[in-house]
């Protein structure tokens, strides 16, 4: 079992650009959550997808959007990048609709210049 995988590992963008991050959940998991983690801070919840629907959303602007595919993999899209979007983006998967044990991927380090 490969666990949760994310791509790319690192990404450098400039302000105003758009970015897409990808996540493949652990085998058997159908729920995917996305988090933003700034340096020295705890993960901040962006949103959660279950059965291809956005189930819950944190306090992030509409520039942050996502998608879940029938195979449960997921994408996070961020438009009109700001310097403040620089962070580690973590994807976590879990089984079922409720918050169970979450398995985190290694993350994508996004740098906005």
């Amino acid at each position: 079992d490969a666990g949760v995988t994310q791509s790319p590992t690192h990404l450098i963008k400039t302000r105003g650009q758009q970015v897409t991050l990808r996540c493949s959940p652990k085998s058997g998991h159908d729920t995917v959550s996305w988090y933003q983690q700034a340096l020295g801070q705890g993960p901040q919840f962006i949103f959660q997808y279950y059965e291809e629907e956005e189930r819950q959303r944190g306090n992030f602007p509409d520039r942050f959007s996502g998608h879940q595919f029938p195979n449960y993999s997921s994408e996070l899209n961020v438009n009109a990048l700001l310097l403040g979007d620089s962070a580690l983006y973590l994807c976590a998967s879990s089984p079922g609709q409720l918050y169970n044990e979450q398995f985190f991927g290694p993350g994508t380090r996004l740098t906005v210049l």
Binding site: G42, P43, L90, F103, P106
Partner: protein, 108 residues
């Protein structure tokens, strides 16, 4: 609103005990505890459900006081491998919120 963790940092000698606290201003469905080592993803430690259930994992245990919306993580006879940043995550039914973390350093 994110939960508040205390202390922010703690340094221990191998074999010593530590307690990390987590409190929320909102009614909680559950509390999750994770440990993150530098440059790695957070790793799940345990979940505590509404009902005050206390759970343990090896020499790490935790409690959840539902009335006070507080949880504590207990690390007994700490090992070098316990070093890392510990996060509590609180679930309110609407989302999952993580605290700012407690940096634990265990020295030989």
């Amino acid at each position: 609103q994110q939960p508040v963790q205390s202390p922010q940092a703690v340094i221990l000698r191998e074999g010593e005990d530590a307690v990390i606290n987590c409190s929320s201003s909102k009614a909680l469905y559950s509390v999750h505890w994770y440990r993150q080592k530098h440059g790695e993803a957070p790793v799940f430690l345990m979940i505590l459900l509404k009902g005050g259930e206390q759970k343990g994992h090896d020499k790490i245990s935790a409690s959840f006081n539902e009335k006070k919306q507080q949880s504590s993580l207990y690390l007994t006879a700490s090992q070098l491998s316990y070093s890392g940043t510990y996060f509590c995550g609180t679930e309110t039914g609407n989302d999952m919120r993580f605290g700012a973390g407690t940096r634990l350093t265990v020295k030989p």
